[in-house]
């Protein structure tokens, strides 16, 4: 079917192809202002706010908005093997040589799609719209099997030009499009396109946590509505590992103990209370005792940032106990009694109609103290760091409490929602824990005979250019689980079995295990280059998916952390009041 010129023009306007052409032009343009004005012109020309939202999201966040927590979850190797098949070339010999020469798989694929007769014959570019492209990403996200994902990729690429395919792969990866055009420039382009103050756009972006949502507000001229609203969660401020940041003066920070619990945002007004988890999901129903506690306080409208912990016998209980509560929608009376949860506040974001994000921490803290005093709310204790050596002392004390370590917070910092900068630093027990994926299950012997009780666990190298696999082994662990958990684990394994080698099953990624270990050693004979010392199960994380697993980079970072000195408990000290 041949389109009329007018029909072509209108479908071209909102097409993914045009988006890619604009991205390519931005890549080929030097100077931020020129890049920004190119993108602004493009955004202004889009007829629909939905298209503006998608274009901005694809450019700045990826196939899915960052707050959605969704990913297409297609590994590098899946993409590469699929592309080699599509182009009818040998993967090992030809594709890998092309990728090595190019230094980028997506770019090599673009060239191959353009050059190889097999690919040219298959491709019938269809001028997909931005929304049609998004629908393809949605289907990729829902598809679980690698074969299914490859079939979808093939279906998508068949309808695309080589440049579309390149950017499709990059957008799908939720990473940078590698065109020298990052988040700040994108908000600047939104401001230019719809005639707003760039600061207002950035503010709206922070409040909404989403570029797409911000784009819609810009276009509707409703930026001022990007106000914080009670019972609508906002992105959490995040902490950076202290070793990852160059900090000149630690004594400028305030310290708190870092609870080994679950981060939570508590919204309350009078008798109404809502709880939100870090991924901005509502978890109110799971913690009725916290809701009951806070609704009885009849507080003024307020939003607290804090931690949920199991608290019993005047002691914060280990994270494993809290896990028995996580994901349980309506816990029964028995569980509630056995694992009672409390909310410990450490920040105040909103009170009596007044947002406090823009206020420095020390002022938010003052108001938090007043509010907590008036309503009997548990809050962390903050202490000043007199000298650098205090950090270590406080840290040891925190561990003695069964806490994870320390949080260091800058008293002058505003609440930087959704950001991970150096205003908040975390000091954690080094070499402690790692979320891993079960790769192999080995038949146990003796007491554990008849079950699969030993496991090879892997970390993600999905986004690691050095590897082609999605996961590589990091260690073998057994023990640390109850018989009941092991039974459940063996059940859950069954649908994941990919292959069998004698007493060993190879499993598709599906089960996440939080490993605890004593240390990390460099071991060049292993694929990862590291082995864990005494790895054991800390918890089976039914609440996590393989996409949440730790990465080899995490292991490398942990390995660099130094071990701390001996820990001596200190009586009479409290981490909250």
């Amino acid at each position: 079917m041949k389109m009329t010129d007018a029909a072509f023009q209108s479908s071209y306007g909102v097409s993914f192809r045009r988006f890619c052409e604009v991205m390519q032009r931005i890549a080929e343009t030097r100077g931020n202002n020129r890049k920004i004005s190119l993108f602004a012109d493009y955004l202004r020309s889009l007829p629909d706010e939905a298209d503006v939202a998608l274009a901005v999201q694809f450019a700045g966040e990826g196939a899915f908005s960052s707050v959605s927590g969704k990913r297409a979850s297609v590994g590098h190797r899946t993409v590469a093997v699929c592309a080699a098949g599509f182009c009818d070339i040998d993967y090992e010999l030809v594709f890998r040589a092309c990728r090595t020469a190019t230094g980028s798989a997506s770019e090599a694929i673009e060239k191959l799609m353009e050059n190889l007769p097999a690919a040219i014959a298959k491709r019938k570019p269809a001028l997909l719209s931005l929304t049609e492209t998004e629908a393809l990403f949605q289907r990729l996200e829902k598809e679980r099997s690698r074969e299914g994902k490859q079939a979808l990729l093939t279906e998508a690429w068949t309808q695309m030009t080589p440049a579309e395919i390149k950017f499709f792969i990059r957008v799908m990866g939720q990473g940078s499009l590698r065109i020298g055009f990052e988040s700040r420039s994108i908000t600047a382009a939104l401001a230019a396109a719809f005639d707003h103050d760039p600061e207002d756009v950035r503010y709206a972006r922070m409040i909404t946590g989403s570029l797409g949502r911000t784009a819609v507000l810009c276009r509707r001229n409703e930026l001022s509505s990007a106000r914080f609203r009670l019972f609508q969660p906002i992105a959490f401020m995040l902490a950076s590992p202290v070793e990852s940041r160059a900090v000149e003066d630690l004594t400028a920070y305030l310290a708190e103990e870092k609870f080994d619990g679950m981060r939570c945002q508590l919204h309350a007004e009078g008798g109404k209370v809502a709880l939100f988890s870090r991924d901005l999901n509502e978890i109110t129903e799971s913690f009725p005792e916290v809701v009951a506690d806070f609704s009885a306080k009849m507080m003024p409208a307020a939003v607290l940032d804090g931690e949920l912990c199991v608290f019993r016998d005047d002691t914060i209980q280990p994270f494993q106990e809290l896990q028995k509560r996580m994901g349980v929608k309506k816990p029964g009376a028995g569980v509630l009694k056995k694992h009672p949860v409390v909310f410990i506040a450490y920040d105040l974001l909103f009170v009596e109609g007044q947002p406090l994000f823009g206020e420095p921490l020390k002022q938010r803290r003052e108001q938090l103290e007043t509010l907590c005093e008036a309503h009997g709310i548990r809050r962390s204790i903050q202490f000043e760091i007199g000298e650098e050596g205090d950090v270590e002392r406080f840290f040891d004390r925190a561990l003695a409490h069964g806490n994870e370590g320390l949080m260091l917070k800058h008293p002058e910092s505003t609440y930087e929602y959704g950001q991970r900068r150096k205003s908040w630093l975390k000091v954690k027990k080094p070499g402690g824990t790692l979320d891993t994926v079960i790769m192999y299950a080995h038949a146990g012997s003796g007491k554990r005979g008849g079950t699969y009780s030993d496991f090879t666990l892997g970390v993600s190298v999905r986004d690691d250019e050095r590897y082609e696999e999605e996961f590589i082994p990091i260690g073998k662990a057994y023990g640390g689980y109850t018989d009941e958990e092991l039974k459940k684990l063996n059940q859950a394994m069954k649908p994941l079995i990919a292959d069998r080698f004698g007493p060993t099953y190879s499993l598709k990624p599906g089960i996440v295990v939080e490993l605890e270990f004593d240390g990390i050693q460099v071991n060049r004979r292993t694929k990862a280059g590291y082995t864990l010392r005494f790895p054991r199960f800390r918890a089976i994380r039914w609440d996590l998916s393989p996409a949440d697993a730790g990465t080899l980079r995490d292991v490398e970072r942990l390995a660099e952390e130094k071990l701390t000195a001996d820990r001596t408990p200190q009586k009479g000290h409290r981490s909250f009041r």
Partner: protein
């Protein structure tokens, strides 16, 4: 004629190949064979001994002298076989740079075609491209030996280069084209000539341009680089080695284009801080290489000047053509 399956050859120190049966040296760096042939005037193919006797095409002979060769050059016209005791040698126009020749050596052991560097379809600033109907032993370069390399037609790239230059000039920027002094610079000038804008060329390339014009190749309106006037609506053509030199640093408002087969790679943009990449190469691309090889139907292919012979070998094997890599020093980028 015998039916040997392998070619008798020897690799020479530095660069070049010796065919002992024919007493022929191809692009060798010293006086190591009875008859020595130079395929073209790029440094990695020229003798280091500047005083020996060589055979070359007329344009190569002139370019060699400009580049400092003081020995004796016997000029051979293209397509005119020359008889020696043990062989017959014919130069074929290689389409790479002005004067570039493929060298065909015929002996009792069979026909050898040595490509030097070559390009088909030919660069417009050369004598064109032609080759024998068939050969027995094909010694070919493979600078771009992967299917990610397929060149677009010169005219298409020239048109884009002209728009790049006019747009820059129109916005008050000096367009700078990065390309090496011999061959690429003249190709760029030829492509931009229709603009009629004065072009300045790096000093080392200036003398070489004269040889091109003497050979009847139009390079447009050009002059030697002059610091005082380069920013007055001129286009500058200079090798990428001058990126960090004062010459380019002095030009505050400029737009820089990189013209090379390697411009296929986006990474070059960041590595070199480039505004525009033009993947214009004077080497044969992967697809043309396979097509030409199939047409020549050789007993065996010897692959030289390549970062990776394995992929070409894989595709030749699929076509039933035997091949092997020829390890040579002196492999250089474009």
């Amino acid at each position: 004629m015998s039916k040997e399956t392998n070619l008798n050859y020897r690799l020479e120190r530095g660069h070049g190949i010796i065919l002992p049966d024919a007493e022929v040296g191809l692009d060798v760096s010293g006086n190591v064979a009875r008859h020595i042939f130079v395929s073209h005037a790029h440094a990695d193919h020229l003798p280091r001994d500047r005083h020996m006797h060589v055979y070359a095409s007329p344009a190569t002979a002139r370019l060699m002298r400009v580049r400092g060769f003081q020995g004796d050059v016997t000029e051979l016209a293209f397509r005119q076989p020359v008889e020696f005791d043990r062989c017959r040698v014919t130069l074929w126009p290689a389409g790479h740079i002005l004067g570039s020749a493929m060298i065909e050596v015929e002996t009792d052991a069979g026909r050898v075609l040595y490509t030097g560097d070559y390009k088909t379809p030919p660069s417009p600033v050369t004598e064109g491209f032609a080759c024998p109907e068939a050969t027995d032993f094909f010694i070919t370069e493979a600078t771009f030996p992967l299917p990610i390399y397929r060149w677009r037609p010169h005219e298409e790239l020239f048109a884009e280069m002209r728009s790049f230059a006019s747009e820059a000039l129109g916005e008050g920027y000096t367009p700078v084209f990065l390309g090496y002094n011999l061959g690429k610079a003249q190709e760029i000038m030829h492509g931009l000539a229709p603009l009629g804008v004065p072009m300045q060329i790096h000093g080392a390339g200036y003398e070489l341009c004269r040889v091109y014009e003497e050979a009847g190749i139009a390079l447009g309106n050009w002059e030697k680089y002059d610091r005082a006037t380069v920013q007055d609506g001129r286009i500058l053509i200079t090798p990428s080695s001058s990126l960090d030199a004062p010459m380019l640093r002095n030009i505050r408002r400029k737009r820089v284009a990189y013209v090379s087969g390697w411009a296929t790679h986006e990474s070059r943009r960041v590595q070199l801080t480039i505004d525009k990449l033009f993947p214009l190469s004077d080497h044969i691309d992967f697809f043309e290489l396979l097509e030409l090889t199939e047409k020549l139907n050789p007993r065996k292919v010897y692959i030289t000047h390549t970062p990776n012979p394995r992929v070409v070998q894989h595709y030749l094997a699929e076509r039933g053509i035997a091949s092997q890599p020829l390890e040579m020093e002196g492999y250089e980028d474009d």
